[in-house]
């Protein structure tokens, strides 16, 4: 028995070769970002892109930080409230649409869900017009509102899928004990749904952080989040490519950290996007 397992494991060891090659492929852009980032200005040259730095320097990151730090902060003050409000709203919607169904809930749910697939180009002109009219275009709060509203479908879906796994008997028992909707939601559902909160928060944080389209049409230069600023910086002829690499890395760090530490939850959010549980 033991020898059979060993021989099977040996037979499988070739598997590591393609896997490792693919792993290297996925790491190439990271390598270039960091390798370039840690070189000194003197050592930067496109011809030596693949050579390791002779000595470590953080000049590029300092330059990138100088260029991007206001925008990184803008991103934070957009993304944190957006993700927080989205999670709360999603939990309420998900709860009602899965555990407190009303007549028509089965119609409302797919109509909500369709909202997460639409190309935003199809709502962009009214959105910009509307946000300007109500005075929310230009600043960061308008973007918070937009992320919350267009986040309703996915956050509702993730919470609804989660709440469906909670047995109805729990609800029935609480109802018999005289608990109303608020008590049931507040005392039973919220404490149980911490994992769903993590998934949704991470999902909304990541997608709002990575958003470009809404930000580019709804914020002015001063309030640009990091994606718009990075794209602008990369498009300019003044900022050297090495600083662009370091800047790209800075823009990617927050979501990468989330991925590294909370990747499991991130993946759950991803799978919900395919309507899979």
């Amino acid at each position: 028995m033991a020898s059979a397992t060993v021989s099977r494991a040996n037979r499988r060891s070739w598997v590591y070769i393609p896997l490792t090659m693919m792993a290297l492929f996925y790491l190439v852009p990271m390598f270039v970002m960091l390798n370039t980032g840690f070189k000194s200005f003197a050592e930067i040259s496109l011809a030596t892109m693949w050579k390791l730095p002779t000595s470590l320097s953080i000049e590029n990151f300092v330059a990138a930080w100088d260029a991007l730090s206001p925008n990184l902060w803008n991103s934070v003050i957009i993304v944190v409230p957006a993700a927080t409000i989205s999670s709360l709203l999603g939990s309420v919607n998900g709860f009602v649409l899965s555990k407190w169904k009303f007549k028509g809930a089965n119609v409302v749910f797919p109509l909500l869900l369709f909202g997460m697939f639409i190309p935003y180009q199809a709502i962009l002109i009214p959105l910009v017009t509307f946000m300007s009219n109500i005075g929310l275009a230009g600043g960061t709060w308008g973007l918070v509102v937009v992320h919350v509203i267009y986040g309703i479908p996915i956050t509702t879906l993730i919470f609804a899928n989660f709440f469906r796994t909670i047995p109805d008997t729990l609800l029935e028992a609480a109802k018999v004990d005289g608990a109303g909707i608020y008590t049931i939601f507040r005392r039973i559902m919220i404490p149980l749904s911490v994992p769903a909160f993590v998934v949704v928060y991470i999902w909304q944080f990541t997608s709002a952080w990575n958003d470009f389209l809404f930000a580019v049409v709804l914020t002015n230069t001063e309030h640009w989040p990091v994606t718009v600023a990075l794209n602008n910086l990369a498009g300019s002829q003044i900022i050297a490519w090495n600083v662009q690499m370091a800047a790209s890395f800075l823009a990617a760090v927050p979501t990468l950290l989330i991925y590294i530490f909370l990747g499991r939850y991130f993946l759950q959010g991803m799978m919900s996007g395919a309507l899979k549980e």
Binding site: K101, I125, L213
Partner: protein
């Protein structure tokens, strides 16, 4: 799905209470429903109205012009480029993701050590924005030739794979295929995760049965496992397909506003917000919406119906 709770059996007073509570639920979701009704469906209607208007320039002009904007697109050479680019991008992107995703999933499913490590590596690009991806890959795919060789071309030169040196996104006509590569880099891990979940759902007994019957590993995959993975492939094609139709950030970050690498989503943006051709922009938005809806609505319909059954 469980059967609806037997509230009809309750006493009438309790029933009334349930009714009231029932309406509380509606009240709780009403703000979200209204917001989506306005910001999704209302705005789509508004865009449709703009699409049949003469609106050009900064001031709104809702003069009805019928299908003029759509007819204009049909004979617009730039829009032809967009459609062709989207087609090439979609094919390269979807096939690339499916091939790499399935391959990696099969390898990972062999029950290897460090599976979690590899899986995380293949998936991390998902966490990064398309803007970052675009900026970095623009340098990796630097098209400069000769002694200005850099990026991947330089790497190919160094390791003796000279024949792979190419002009990437600067290749005439097919440049858009190069733009699809970073998208494959970003989304193939996700496809892998979908396939891996599918493979894990294939019962071990089925594999054993096929092996006992003398099936080779290849036959096992071709005749037993692949047919079972069809639903996964279909989901993946729809999800990737709608991403592909909507692709925008990556193009902007990688290619800027070059017409050669234009797609409908970028054309809509430049014509509307740079050129102030609102009518035309709205028409492109509607074309995009319909193409995504054709792909997604049947999927949504069947998936949700299955859930309920």
């Amino acid at each position: 799905m469980t059967v609806e709770s037997p509230e009809t059996k309750s006493v009438s007073g309790r029933r009334k209470l349930f009714r009231m509570e029932h309406w509380w639920g509606v009240l709780w979701v009403l703000p979200s429903i209204l917001a989506v009704m306005v910001f999704v469906y209302g705005f789509i209607g508004w865009t449709a109205r703009v699409a049949v208007s003469a609106w050009k320039g900064l001031l709104p002009d809702y003069t009805f012009v019928g299908a003029d904007n759509f007819v204009g697109l049909a004979s617009d050479p730039r829009f032809h480029i967009d459609v062709r680019n989207t087609a090439i991008f979609t094919v390269v992107f979807i096939l690339g993701c499916l091939a790499i995703g399935l391959g990696l999933a099969i390898l990972l499913d062999k029950g290897i050590r460090a599976e979690g490590f590899y899986r995380s590596l293949f998936l991390f690009p998902m966490a990064i924005s398309f803007i970052v991806t675009g900026v970095v890959w623009r340098w990796l795919m630097n098209p400069a030739q000769g002694d200005r060789l850099s990026g991947l071309n330089l790497l190919f030169d160094k390791v003796g794979l000279d024949f792979l040196i190419n002009k990437w996104y600067a290749t005439p006509t097919w440049g858009i295929a190069a733009v699809a590569l970073p998208a494959v880099w970003q989304m193939s891990g996700y496809t892998m995760a979908l396939y891996l979940a599918g493979l894990r759902a294939v019962p071990e007994s089925l594999r054993e049965a096929a092996r006992v019957d003398g099936a080779s590993e290849l036959q096992l995959y071709r005749r037993v496992i692949m047919p079972l993975l069809w639903p996964v492939t279909l989901s993946a094609v729809i999800i990737l397909g709608h991403i592909s139709l909507k692709i925008f950030d990556l193009i902007i970050a990688l290619a800027g506003k070059q017409v050669a690498l234009d797609v409908p989503a970028t054309y809509m943006w430049t014509t509307t917000f740079d050129g102030f051709f609102f009518g035309r922009g709205a028409a492109i938005g509607m074309v995009l919406l319909v193409s995504v809806a054709v792909l997604v609505v049947p999927y949504l319909w069947f998936t949700l119906r299955q859930d309920r059954a």
